[in-house]
Structure formats: C-alpha cells, structure tokens
Amino acid sequence: MYVYALRRLLISGPLLLISSMIVYTLVHFTGDPLRDLEGRNPPVPPEVLQERRRLLGLDKSLPEQYWNWLSGVVTGDFGPSVKGIDIGADLSTRLAVTLRMVVLAMILAVILAMVVGVLSAVKQYSPIDYTATLLGFLALSMPVFWLAALLKEFLAIELNQLVGRTVVYTVGDSTPNLTGSFFDKLPNQLGHLVLPTIALAAVSYAAWSRYQRSSMLDVLNSDYIRLARAKGLSRSRVLVRHALRCALIPITTVVALDVGAILGGAVITERVFAWHGMGEMLLSSVNDQDVNRLLAWLMVSALIVVVFNLIADLLYAFLDPRIRYA
C-alpha cells in the first residue's frame, strides 16, 4: 500500500511540471500583456514600452522566460502583475473563498449521488428510480447559471420573507467589513454559501448518481452477490458490506476526473452570485491579458486537479485490493 502510494505521489511531480510547460506555452501565445499600452492614443513612447517589456521579462526567449517564471513560482513568487496586484496574497484569499464552495458542493454531491444512486439501483424501475432518473436528467440538462438564478428568485427570496430576515444571501461570499472571530462570521458565511453550493452540486450530482446507479446494478447482478445471498446473508448486509464497496470504485474515478469541470462550474456560479473568488480572478486576468495572474490561476487549479486525482488513486487502492498489488 505504501509503495503504491509513494509511486503515485512520485508520478504527480513530473505531471505537474509538464502541465506547467503546456500551460505556459499556451498562455505565452494568447496575448501580449502590453497590448493595452501599445494601443493607447497618444502613443506611449517606445522607451517606456521597452522598459515595461524588460520589467516583465518579455525580452527574453520563451524557455528562459519559462525558467525564470518557474523558479519564482517554486518560491511562491508568481511574478509581476500588469495591474500591480500581489498575485500570491490575492490568490490565497480567493482560493480560500472558492475552495469553501467547491469542497462543500463536492461533499454534498457525492453523498447525494451515492444515496440516490444506490437507492434507485436497489429499487430499479420503481417510482423512486423513475423520479430520481427524471430529476437527474433535468439537472443534467440545465445551465448552471439558469438554475442559480432560479434558486435566487424562488428559494432565497421566499425563504427570507418567510423567516422575516435575510438568512440566505444572494450576493457576495460574505458581508463586507465583517468582523469578529471565526465563529461570529460563520453563520453569515454559511448564509452566503447555501445557494452557490446547491447550484454547483446539482449538475455533478446528476451525473454521478447515474454512474452510481449503473455501477451498483453491475455489482448486484454479479455472481458473488448471488453467492452471498445464497449462503444466507441478510439483504442489508450483502448490500452494505459486499456490494457497496465494489460499486464505489467507478464513482471515485468519475469524481476525480470531474474536479476540473467543477472548478469551471465554480467560475460560472461565482459570477452569478458575485463572489470574489478564483472565478473572478480568472475572468479579470483573461480580460486584462494579465499573463502572470492567469498562469497562477491555471497552475493552482492544475495542482488541485492533480491532488484530487492522487486522493482518488489512494481511495481506489483502499477500495480494491487488486490494484494495490498490481
């Protein structure tokens, strides 16, 4: 088990490195960070442009630029931003905001998907199954921001009117200038979290519950489950101890593979609810042609994806002994 874990961990390093090269090259060709300056009228003196170019390291060759950038990133320095923002500090606050939503949404989606998927597999072709399938397809076919806006219009406003004060917030990640200890802030932040988390979780939940259902069906039809039942084990014991463990393997992969998509969904969700998180950072850095900020964003999300895949690999080995010894 440990050897396996170590091996997976060692592969992640080079994977991140190559991914950083690809990302750097891609971004390098996307845009000129000085386009804004060059296009100004009256024209900016060429010396100023030259100076900016030197300052941003744009006068060097691509491999050289990449190396300088990479050695900076390793020490936590993401390089200068076009807008003069401290990328590292900005990134860490935004990351905390976004991860709060992403992790909560993933937990919610996984739990719901497991429960609903298993339930509709066990009760295949029952009303529960049909309802779950229909709801799943509906969530799968809905644009995230459409659902988010629906939640705002109906759930939030109705609920707040019912209670008589704002419990569920529709704008922002927390009330500005909020002070106090962690526990003072918690209810406010949770109130802001509810809607975005539901919106973000809905789409993933829909896809995952379908996977869970079909993998559970596969397992339930296998010979070893029939044997377990035949030798007299109770239905519930067979389901929980024998079937569920195996049926969790496919969904682990799917969840890990979908992390990138969830981060993408988070960008849209953040936009709908006007959060100041990673999504806003991505959009503004693309709009501003702020190369270093964009790179920082891409690298952090690549890191998140790699870490989640690593966790999935380890879970995999835990769930399926065959993988450990392969």
């Binding site: 994977l15 690809i22 509906l138 644009p143 921001f145 069906l217 998509a261 964009l294």
Partner: protein, 313 residues
Amino acid sequence: MPDLTTPSPDMVEAGAPSPAIDREFTVGRRSQSSLVLRRFLQHRLAVVSLGVFLALVLISLLGEVLWQYTSTDITDDLSQGPSKRHPMGTDSTGHDLLGQVLAGTRISILVALLVAGLSTAFGTVFGALSGFYGGRTDAVMMRTVDLLLTVPSLAILLTLSTLLAGGGGDPVTIALILASLSWLGIARVIRGLFLSLREKEYVEAARCLGATDRRIIFRHLLPNAVGPIIVNATITVAFAILAETGLSYLGFGIKFPSTSLGLLISVGQSAASTRPWLFYFPGLVIILIALTINFVGDGMRDALDPQQRRVRA
C-alpha cells in the same frame, strides 16, 4: 459515415442458404441495424424526445419563414410581456424575443452539432490509433490526454477564445474551440475498446489475408465500435449546447449581431425579476433541447449496447 452495421452483400450471399430448400416455417432474417432500430423504438421516451428535438430543429430552420420578425428586427413595442403579437415578449430595444429565440436555437444547435461531429471524428481516430498500435504510441497519446485533463477545460476555452476570436465571435470559431477539448472522453473510450478488439481472431484473419493496418482499423474494427461512438456523439451534443451557453454567459462565446440561446439568457438574466420572460423562455428552450438529446442518448445506449441493459436487479 457509410452504414457499417449492415453486412456487405457478398457476406450475406455466402452465409444464406439457397432459396430452393423448403422449410416448415421461416424466421425472418434481421440485420443488425434493424435490431438496433427495434430496440430504440421500444424506448418510448427516447422516440418522443427524438421527435421533439427534430421538430425544434425544423422550426428553428424555418423560423424566418414561419415568423414575421427576425432576430434583428426592431419593433415599436419595448419591454412588453408575452402577448398575441409577441408570444415571448420583447426586450428593451424592441427586439421580438420569439424571433431571437428562433435564431438563437438555430445557432446553438449548429454549434452543438459541429462540436459533436468534429470531436467525435477526431477523438475516434485518435483513440483508434492509440489503442490499435498500443505500446509506446499508446503511452504517449494517452498521457497527452491525461495532461489535457489536468487543466480545467473552462480556462483553456477562455484562453483559446481570446486567442482565436478576440474573446468570442462567430459560431464556427466557437464550435472549433469547444471541439478542441471535447474529444478527450471519446478518445479514451475508443482506445479502451480497440485495445480489446485488436486481439480478436478476425483481425488476425484479416491480417493473414494481407489487409493493411488502415483497412483493419477502418473496415474491421471501427464498425464494431459504432455503438459507443454514436452514444458518445449524442451526449456531446448535449454537452456542447450547455458549454456554449456557459461560454456566452461569461462573455467569451457568441457575440452580437450573431445570437445564441446562451447569449439570450445571459442578457435576460439581469432582468429575471423585472422582465422574467427574457430569462425564462430561452432557458426553457435550452433545457428542452438538452433534455431531449439526453433522453435520445439514453435510448441509443439501450439500443446499441444491449449488455448494459439490466432487466433484473
């Protein structure tokens, strides 16, 4: 793609008994494709969905003929709710929303079909080559796919959109951008399938007869992978519709004067509480399209991939 599921005529002749033999009763011979069709027709929801989807395509194509306003016509009615003259209402500049939705549906479906076609073709060939040749070729090709999967696709889409279209533009460019990332899934599926298919006896037989690699891949192996390919292509259509919507919502997709359902919703979203029709109608059309395609995909899966269908739990 030619219809690869039906056996070629010479194969049928070789296997069929001569008609001279009299039989007590006859069993109608069914080709693979008619079996698939029968199974699909049994999936009622899928058939209805296919009908609704085709109707939507047809209506949107004939939109300019059927409806008096086009997406760019400006009427004197500003910000009006749904009425007889404007069944979906108008926006603040006086555009008739029904006209816009018709045009948007046309573009959205065009983008989605293009994405599905392009990414399926490319992903299939990529996966086929990777799985067929195996070994080092396979390792390099599949690691490339893995790498592309580590970066959140939305970020790449935004970057590409700025690079190629200056932050959004015409439908074909947007389709190309979306297709550039959506082939990864199908490539993996086909590669896995080819890894097992290439070990089959008939491949060995074909090789003994002197068939080239290309012939084996395209004439012998690909027809056996048609099921997953079609199912995947269908799902990609639904994915592409929603992806285009998201991209347009963020301002990196289709731009005016062209229009799409995604663009219409994102414009209407700010007015969701004051002029709800601007927001709900385009959204409902998107959901209808994506939902019907998902159901069709589900029916296709049942029809083309009968092993997956379980009757008894």
